[in-house]
């Protein structure tokens, strides 16, 4: 940001965009942000308005920095980690206000008051297809006591998938933001060598939970394996079974979301455990955006492979010249490459086509989604905190 160019700095940083042009490119996102956050003006009280203004400045400012520096990952990460840490604060805040506890009692479940989570979607499909029933204790349409209904969340996910593909995992998934936060704490990884074969584990997990959920008519991952239950809500501990469930949630969260990301600088839960990741990776086929490696520029320095937080960019991918199907388009590898060999790309275009044009065409909708979805979560939590401080 200071404008100092180190000898090994990426070529694009040396050619950082002029301020005026960067501001011009930020205008559409600023207008979008105004449109999205203007709804807060109708909410009574000063806190929601101040929170909306702060969030607007935060999101627009980060986008300006993306334009000015031509770097994606660094600024996206600031937003994503903020989202990851503010989401549970706001969610738990609401739970405590609503029922005085993070645990969900059985009467809330049978009343359809469990907020639906997108992670449950892969488990719902087979039972819904064969029996037209959803194996989740929520409600189909929003109610006063449960605004996060199944139809609402599925619609949000479908819309996001259409726009972002697997980019959901880098611009939308608030859970990913938590581990990205812990992964970015150390400057260097304590554990450097992680066998890339571990990244096939989420595919096995996806197959297992889809089959088990269909056979048991129960959202198996949500009931037994989701690490993020530890920071959202979990079944009320009333028996040995629910005590074991709670212990599993806590252990997985501590291990996969806190300790291992800190030790490896990887998003270990996303890379080695989350079944939603591979499910979402299928949508990358729909997206016109991908990340390619220009072999004529690549020197096999492995900088990009080290930068990839989910080990999607491995030796084979670099050799093939394209990131794997599970690439979430966070931009870490593109930003890390000092030779401009790793490039944003639009399918159908030549590899020599402008990487920056492809990046811009991806970033506008991606950041618009981040502002709409993540921005509203950040603003909502900020409003609660401001109200509390006041």
């Amino acid at each position: 940001m200071s404008g100092t160019i180190t000898p090994d700095a990426p070529a694009r940083e040396a050619a950082g965009r002029p301020t005026g042009r960067s501001l011009l490119l930020t205008v559409p996102i600023a207008l979008w942000g105004m449109l999205m956050f203007s709804r807060s003006l109708q909410v009574p009280g000063a806190a929601p308005k101040v929170a909306a203004l702060l969030t607007f400045l935060f999101m627009t400012g980060l986008f300006f920095l993306m334009m000015r520096t031509k770097e994606t990952h660094r600024w996206r990460r600031v937003f994503f980690v903020t989202l990851g840490f503010l989401f549970p604060v706001g969610f738990i805040w609401d739970l405590i206000a609503l029922r005085g506890s993070m645990s969900i009692p059985i009467e809330r479940m049978i009343g359809g008051d469990t907020p639906f989570c997108f992670l449950a979607i892969p488990m719902m499909i087979v039972p819904a297809a064969f029996t037209r029933t959803l194996i989740f204790p929520g409600s189909i349409l929003p109610t006063a006591s449960n605004p996060h209904a199944v139809a609402t969340m599925v619609a949000l996910w479908l819309s996001a998938t259409l726009v972002l593909g697997k980019g959901w995992c880098a611009y939308g998934c608030f859970f990913g933001g938590i581990e990205e936060g812990f992964a970015s704490l150390p400057k260097k990884p304590r554990i450097r060598q992680v066998d890339p074969r571990w990244r096939w584990l989420p595919w096995a997990m996806l197959a297992a939970i889809v089959l088990l959920s269909a056979a048991s008519f129960d959202a198996v991952y949500c009931m037994w394996l989701c690490p993020f239950k530890a920071v959202t809500e979990f079944p009320e501990v009333r028996s040995a079974q629910t005590a074991v469930q709670f212990a599993v949630f806590g252990s997985l969260f501590a291990g996969l979301v806190v300790v291992l990301p800190f030790l490896t600088r990887l998003r270990t839960q996303c890379a080695f455990f989350c079944p939603f990741g591979p499910f979402q990776a299928l949508s990358n086929r729909l997206s016109v955006f991908d990340v390619r490696i220009d072999r004529t520029r690549c020197t096999d320095c492995v900088t990009c492979r080290r930068a990839c937080p989910t080990l999607v960019l491995d030796e084979g991918a670099v050799r093939r010249g394209r990131a794997g199907m599970s690439c979430m388009k966070c931009g870490a590898c593109v930003d890390a490459c000092t030779k401009d060999a790793v490039r944003w790309h639009i399918k159908g275009t030549a590899l020599s086509a402008s990487s920056e044009t492809a990046r811009l065409l991806y970033l506008f909708p991606a950041w618009a989604f981040a502002t709409l979805f993540g921005g509203s979560i950040i603003a909502g939590t900020l409003a609660k905190l401001l109200q509390w401080l006041h």
């Binding site: 009467e107 989740f136 618009a368």
Partner: protein, 164 residues
């Protein structure tokens, strides 16, 4: 051909931005209504099943649902029948109701429970079945999805397990 592919690629990229612009106003409501229009329902193990009959009482009513049997192949919960006393505010301090589940004129069970004034207080139910298809409940609170008494909104829901 390469040029056509490139044009299609850029067209797709621009359409992605268009899709994003219309997302909150068009796509999101469209998909929400689309999901609701598929007719999918929450699993009756959670929802309690469809209403079979409604029995009027003095100042309140008992809603009897159809029996619910899980379609699970593994770890199948016990089948149950759900009854709901509503509105809870109109119930006497102690309820002892003989309930005819199937409308054949004979009581199938007698349910007894107290209704404390404190709406957060724990509830306990005793159910004495007169029908071999039903299983008794003794001082049950919220044991499982198949055996429970719980205050759900302005209703008191009782689930009586059925013999498998």
């Amino acid at each position: 051909m390469r040029r056509l592919k490139a044009v299609l690629g850029y067209t797709g990229a621009v359409l992605t931005s268009v899709a994003m612009l219309v997302m909150p106003f068009v796509l999101f409501p469209l998909f929400t209504h689309g999901v609701a229009a598929t007719g999918v329902q929450v699993d009756p193990v959670y929802g309690g099943g469809r209403t079979a009959r409604i029995i009027a009482r003095d100042g309140y009513r008992i809603v009897v649902n159809q029996p619910v049997r899980s379609r699970a192949l593994l770890a199948r919960p016990a089948p149950f029948v759900q009854l709901a006393w509503e509105p809870a505010a109109a119930l006497p301090a102690h309820v002892a109701d003989a309930v005819d589940l199937d409308g054949d004129g004979r009581a199938d069970l007698i349910a007894r429970f107290d209704v404390p004034a404190d709406t957060t207080a724990a509830l306990f139910v005793d159910v004495a079945p007169a029908d071999a298809a039903l299983r008794p409940l003794r001082h049950v609170s919220r044991d499982s999805f198949s055996s429970l008494i719980a205050r759900v909104g302005d209703r008191i829901v009782v689930r009586v397990p059925l013999a498998r």
